[in-house]
Subunit: 467 residues, 2 copies
């Protein structure tokens, strides 16, 4: 353990705190810096109580933190913060890095930032000796503290070789993905994963908001959206984000306040990276763009610091105040089926948007699949159809026979039933109505191409984005 | 004047009141009914003070109102209200109509309601003798009271012959459109017109909300969005709805309260007709669907009875509370240019959605053009590009040489600049981001088809909807 190199850790937020304290338990000597001093006191206390014998210290500036560290992890919230820490803020780190240090940027940032702006700034600062690793993470604060994150690391081979033990210490054994393509490719991988995350987070609120308008018991419905009785198999509507956000959505509904685990500003920032990078490279992101506008509207209401699960309010606040409404769908099972269909339709479109975008930015699609299916962006729909989509893009196959999938007209019908009922109940469905229009456009395109609509939904929807 | 047939007028809301009192000044004897009795008192007072010598009376039920009327105008707010008035409410009118009466339904209702539900209900009630005219109107309460509405009338030839003098009394001389296709075609025409209305109303709020985030003076910007100095020519960003809503948007911004001229519930109802009819006939309405979700969200906040111009709040409420932001566009002229581009892009997409939908439901596109360009859905963009779109659909022309239009890549660039800046300022652009993605999809499709993007934006965007 004594042979492990000293680590500087900058940015001890919800994720960073867990990562930094986990490194202590793995025998790394960690010097921490955060702009919020009480966090540093908490870091030292945590080291004393949970990582006896570890070497924890704190620094009063980025430059002081990195002065003796051969490995530096930067886990701040945004590219702007990373740039301030390294170059433009008070006592910045770049000039103070030991010769030949390895810098791991674990924040979620645009590819263009890490590949162009940051890499160039290091050169301009005379720090070509620093090995840069682009290593965004996924998995939430619990897995951060457990050292079982998914990590998407990219950089030069020597840089990756030096960073690998530290990356392995923070990642689950099978979840350290070395992304080919050099610095920037890791951020691209994270960005494509976040297409799923940004849409599934809002979809969870949209689904439970619709459930509320339908008059369903939210606790019961929540459970039924995840698993199918009696075998307790995962239901097609299930997703990692749904399962993760449900307790907080239920708390929001019950107490009017969800505990804050991941703020609206965080997923808004990630959605903004997706849509701005998409614009930069000429790619349409119709689903994520809608989600982003809803997050922006929530920010405008002053909810930026609240948990993203609190957004269920945007959908449910009209219950009982939108005037007399009457739905046409009766029975809890049928109503829960509507909510499940809503999630399936959104997850289908978000899967297509993710795969098509990953293809557009040149990622290895098999790796995209492996990463996403096991990370926070995962869903039953993704697991079921993403491989078919990838085959179409890899081999140009236009019509995979696929007995597992329903037909596209059926998928359209199901979403149409959901949107019809939501309209009767006057429940907004930002993502659901967008997904329906995307499915409808895909159906028209598919009928044009084939004279009839034989393509599986996965293939047809994928083509709505591009080819 | 004495020879004019007696008229029953049911539904004296913002539009109906003006229409009914105008008919008095035209020498019609009008018996009015409304569910809100004070309105009837106001009707009689108005007759005394503004229509001396007219024959105005009121009735205490729909059946009493129509008992002696050979012409009946129904101007209630919704299909459900019309059905209650005629069949299912207290003292309904249908059974009491004089033999051979002419019934004009002027409410905005789904084609399926007037063509199927209402027509069938008349037959089932043994009232095949009643001549039904499907005659929705457009123009706002001032033109209603002036007798200068646009009216889209459809029905059998005998029914139209009997209704024509009354329709002419309510419409501007050149704005009575006889829509071919029988009962239901008028409602389809109104529905397609409302695609423009529903999107332009929200676009006006979205544009002024963005102007607020940009730090522009709203009064100055409002004027500049309508006309170009120094020649005072209409600017390409201008629309009927923008001009009409601006004073109320400015009042909302100044006093926190816009006077109520047209409630959110009204345009929400119309948007709902568009999207539900579109679903029924398998047509995608990506832009109107987004507008509808925003209207539903406003309803959920309890703003249903407020003027639709009050929705500028949805965009501007974040100004000053979304944290530090910094834009990259400097100077009032450039900033106003962004707002104008936002409107142009939205108006371009709403024009395409309107024309493509009208084609899908089988309307005469030349008549659609004539109606819309002079009605509340009109805009400079519509006037500039709708004819080109119509030519493509009518003649299958795929590439009209068109020196007047900018290229599609330029249109995409302009919208991209707007969405980039709005994102920096954290201003939601529900319609603008959707329009950009639709333009982007159109560009991809156009490049695929042609190897390069030579098509005019009008033609290319139109194709994003269908063929």
């Amino acid at each position: 353990m004594a042979s492990k190199p000293p680590v500087a850790f900058i940015g001890l937020g919800a994720m960073g705190f867990g990562m930094a304290t986990h490194l202590l338990t793995q025998g790394y000597a960690v010097t921490a810096f955060d702009v919020f001093p009480p966090t540093l006191d908490r870091f030292l206390q945590h080291a004393q109580s949970h990582a006896r014998g570890s070497t924890a210290s704190t620094a009063s500036s980025p430059s002081a933190a990195v002065a003796a560290a051969s490995l530096v992890v930067c886990m701040v919230a945004t590219a702007a913060q990373a740039h301030a820490v390294l170059f433009s803020g008070p006592s910045p780190a770049a000039a103070a890095l030991p010769r030949g240090a390895t810098l791991l940027l674990c924040s979620t940032v645009p590819c263009a930032y890490v590949r162009d702006t940051l890499a160039t700034a290091l050169v301009h600062a005379g720090r070509s000796d620093v090995d840069l690793v682009d290593a965004p993470v996924s998995g939430g604060s619990i897995r951060a503290a457990d050292g079982t994150l998914s990590i998407m690391a990219a950089g030069s081979d020597p840089a990756l070789a030096k960073a690998r033990p530290l990356l392995q210490a923070m990642a689950a054994p099978d979840k350290l993905y070395i992304v080919p393509g050099g610095v920037g490719a890791g951020s691209n991988m994270k960005m494509c994963h976040q297409v799923l995350a940004a849409n599934h987070i809002l979809a969870a609120s949209e689904a439970l908001g619709l459930a509320k308008h339908l008059g369903l018991d939210l606790h019961k419905t929540a459970a039924e959206l995840l698993v199918l009785a009696p075998e307790n198999k995962p239901r097609m509507s299930a997703s990692w984000m749904l399962e993760n956000r449900l307790p907080r959505i239920l708390a929001q509904d019950k107490d009017g306040k969800a505990p804050v685990a991941s703020a609206v500003t965080i997923i808004l920032k990630d959605a903004g990276i997706i849509t701005s990078e998409a614009r930069r490279c000429g790619f349409p992101t119709p689903l994520t763009s809608v989600a982003e506008q809803v997050y922006l509207a929530a920010l405008g209401r002053g909810w930026g610091a609240e948990d993203d699960a609190s957004l269920v309010r945007l959908y449910s606040e009209g219950v009982g105040r939108v005037g007399p409404v009457s739905g046409q769908v009766d029975g809890d099972e049928a109503k829960t089926g509507l909510v499940a269909s809503l999630l399936e339709g959104i997850h289908l479109c978000s899967t297509a948007e993710t795969v098509a975008f990953a293809h557009h930015v040149g990622l290895d699609l098999d790796q995209v699949y492996e990463l996403c299916v096991h990370a926070a962006g995962g869903s039953q729909v993704f697991a079921s159809v993403a491989r078919d989509m990838i085959r179409v893009l890899q081999r140009g196959a236009s019509r995979e026979p696929d007995g597992r999938q329903e037909t596209l007209p059926l998928a359209v019908d199901k979403m149409q039933t959901v949107v019809d009922e939501a309209q009767r109940l006057k429940c907004p469905l930002f993502l659901g109505s967008q997904a329906l229009n995307l499915l409808r456009l895909a159906l028209i395109k598919s009928e044009e191409a084939d004279g009839e609509a034989k393509a599986a939904p996965s293939t047809a929807v994928l083509k709505a984005w591009a080819a």
